[in-house]
């Protein structure tokens, strides 16, 4: 349904935000993970036809979205990372406005707005000015507007930022329910969000796709490569500089590290870090966060080697 073919994006000033990015995505939820400045939001904007690629193509059901953006826009629901609202409009007025812009009018639009306010748990606050909403409530308005036209392609950039845990769980459930025959692209830093809902995961770093596959496949890449290793608190800073650490836990005066690496930390020695009693790290079952850090670190290591 959605083909991203060798997409580049070069901003003025020579900053390469995307470089040869390619993915072929069918129905399901694609979780897009990457560090700050990796190019996720730029990719989202290209897919949402807000900006154009410098090179490469994006095809939606066979149509080039640069040449025929309206084909995609009619089927699109988009929640940008940083979006705003008109503070003096009520949630109902704001959604009615965007419904009209998206081609819904009259009774149909009103019914859809009611339905979505109910869905995002804002029916009671629907007539209050948006300026009086909390960050989480505003985010839910953003989610509602993305669903106005019952989109076949839903692009959501950091959708759970600002939501409380209950609303986050609710939103994850909503995304899973929506997936069905739709393409959902979810960009986030929150690995647990992706882990909960994504059918596929793409990891992006410095504009390049560094890993892509089902969550289980990504987990397999770090099997036997995650270790727990205890070091003295005083050695933590040195360990952070020399190891890929995906978690820490205090153990009295020591710190238990969750380390991602090819070998157990002490087998080859770590400069400046002795480790508690010189014991070698113990193998741990991998998590998606370990897989993410492993993929990023591998990509950077390969680039340095190249």
């Amino acid at each position: 349904m959605l083909v991203i073919d060798s997409v580049d994006k070069l901003y003025s000033g020579g900053v390469q935000a995307l470089c040869g990015f390619s993915i072929d995505q069918g129905p399901g939820i694609l979780g897009l993970l990457g560090p700050n400045g990796a190019g996720k939001s730029t990719l989202m904007r290209i897919l949402a036809t807000v900006t154009r690629p410098t090179a490469g193509r994006v095809l939606w059901q066979g149509h080039d979205v640069v040449r025929h953006p309206q084909e995609l826009r009619r089927a699109l629901g988009y929640l940008p990372q940083d979006f705003g609202v008109y503070p003096n409009l009520s949630a109902r007025e704001f959604l009615a406005y965007l419904a009209a812009v998206k081609g819904l009018a009259g009774r149909r639009a009103r019914a859809r707005v009611d339905e979505l306010l109910e869905l995002v748990n804002l029916t009671a606050a629907g007539r209050r000015p948006l300026g009086s909403f909390s960050g989480g409530m505003r985010q839910r308005v953003g989610i509602a507007q993305a669903l106005l036209n019952d989109p076949r392609l839903l692009i959501v950039d950091e959708p759970t930022a600002g939501l409380d845990p209950e609303e986050r769980v609710r939103f994850r459930g909503l995304l899973s329910d929506l997936a069905g025959e739709r393409v959902v692209i979810l960009s986030t830093h929150i690995v647990s969000d992706v882990e909960a809902v994504a059918t596929e995961i793409a990891i992006i770093d410095r504009g390049r796709l560094v890993a892509h596959g089902a969550p289980e496949a990504l987990l397999r890449t770090v099997e036997g490569r995650v270790w727990e290793w205890t070091v003295a608190s005083s050695e933590l800073a040195a360990a952070r500089q020399r190891l890929v650490i995906s978690g820490t836990a205090r153990r009295g005066t020591d710190v238990a590290l969750r380390v991602v690496g090819e070998q157990a930390p002490t087998l080859s020695g770590v400069s400046g870090v002795a480790g508690a009693a010189g014991a070698a790290g113990a193998a741990l079952p991998p998590s998606l966060e370990d897989a993410y850090l492993y993929a990023i670190a591998m990509a950077r290591q390969n680039r340095r080697a190249a």
């Binding site: 700050n36 900006t51 003096n88 009209a100 812009v101 020399r242 690496g261 966060e289 492993y294 670190a297």
Partner: protein, 610 residues
Amino acid sequence: MSDMAAAAFTLRQVHAIARADLRERRRRFSYLATLAGTLYFLYLVHAGNVRLTIHGQRGVYNSAWIGTLMALSVGSLLSLIGFYLVKNTLDGDRRTGVGEILAATPMSRAAYTLGKAMSNFSLLASILALCAVAAGITQLLAREEARLDLVALLLPMAALAAPPVALAAAMAVLFEAIAWLRGSLGNVIFFFLWIGWLSLSAIGPGIDPLGFQLVESSFARQLPAPAGAAAAAAARGGISLNIGPGGPAAPAGAEESAGPKTGSAAAAAKGAGHQAGRPAGQAPRPPLPSGIHWRGIDWTAAVVAPRLGWLGIAFAIALVAALPFSRFDPAREGGKRPRPSRRAAATPPLDPAPAGEPVATPATPATPATSARPETSDAALATGHGRPGSGLERRWTGGRWWQELAAGAPRSRALVLVIAELRLLLRGRGFWWYAAAAGLWIGGLAAPAGQARATLLALAWIWPLPLWSEMGAREARYGTRPLVLSAPLPPGLQTAAAWAAGIGLTALAGSGVGLRLALAGDARGCGAWLAGCLFIPALALALGTLSGSPRLFEVVYLLLWYAGPMSGVAELDYTGATAAARAAGVAWTYPTLAAALFTVAWAARARRER
């Protein structure tokens, strides 16, 4: 989708965009403030402080005369001020991010610019409607003619005032759609464009968007044949619109001497200046030498067609604005994208380095689970401005001065802060901006003292307009207020430092002329120069702090600059360009005014700190 369905869809989009935008803006406090300003203006009309004279005479206050008086005065003012009032709608969508949501919908660019222009026009038209109602009330209160002719009263508002206001509404969208016209430069260019509109009225009724010539020619046709030399002299007077108190028994044609023909900004500003020192209610209505019962413009097809033509041009401008409109694409919005930090992305290698071997990679990135929100969005990276966390904020928080301020002795704090404020003011301009400023500086130093004082100082003190206009408004504009307000500064120090930096900038920009005047031994000129140095940044700081936007200062300063240094209204000439201005004591009045303005800025800032 069929053509009919597509057209209906586009119309629905235009309507939805215009309606939502209008709703949003009519609920803002600034709209209420605008209505309050309009009511004050209407009071001036009622009190006889807005006067229309044609060929030195005024008509009886019947519906046609009052309607025309109101239409010409409101049309002239609102086509200028209205532009600045509404030139913020695309910017609002860009800043809030609503624009990015809209960009991903099937909305066409033309539907968007047309909808926004319609919203602009509707907002300004609501002010016209208020004035139209007030015109009727004014006629009833004036009691010169009791019969209320609604057509004669309201038609001038629709046919004379609406076209220039529609032009301003459409041009506001066009100026916002073109990246380089969005800021101060666009505001200055529109001001001169508006001055150009005024002069168009001297050419002929067909190409006069404000309609002065149309009124004058209609009035002339209905005048009785001139009898005697006095009437002939009066007939040469043309049309004059003045705002401000008139003399108690001004002879026919005397209004002409008060300001340029057709009621220029200078005349308006001068009147306004007078108004400040005298109770408005005391101004008598102008004399009625002939008691002419003007029946109003004969609205034939030949008269109406050019007026509709202006509306058509406004419509076309709104459509043309769709061409440069970037559809909120950050890559087309302009601005510099800061380079990513080299340190930020470094990750250690997977294999632990052997003991004793140096490792090049210095830091491990934070794990995704602990990073709730990115520090800098791609949008901010792409545009480099406009949101908290972008370039300006980093300059504000990350410079060396901050550490110096934190660690420095109390005595040096103020100086460090002034330097930091000055650096903020001077940042962000291109090479050519500085080159032109340098050219004006050299010109000011090299020119004869009289010319330097009269012309080059005025030019040198309009060039930094975009720098001054940031003063006071910067914190609201870039969302840095919480950072600044939470800083450990003595109360008022930041405001004082901002003013001091502004004085430094103003002095620097005008120092070529200042030096020239000093070398020529012109003590009074130097005094006036110093007064200008104090006054301009104080005005910028006060208006920026109060409004949270650069535009209020830009409009007020442009009007003041045009009326004072450029047109020679002595009381408004803060540069002391003319002997009359220096004799009027600008060297004393403007420093006093500057101190008052600084106090206003300080008080506004102190209220926020509480």
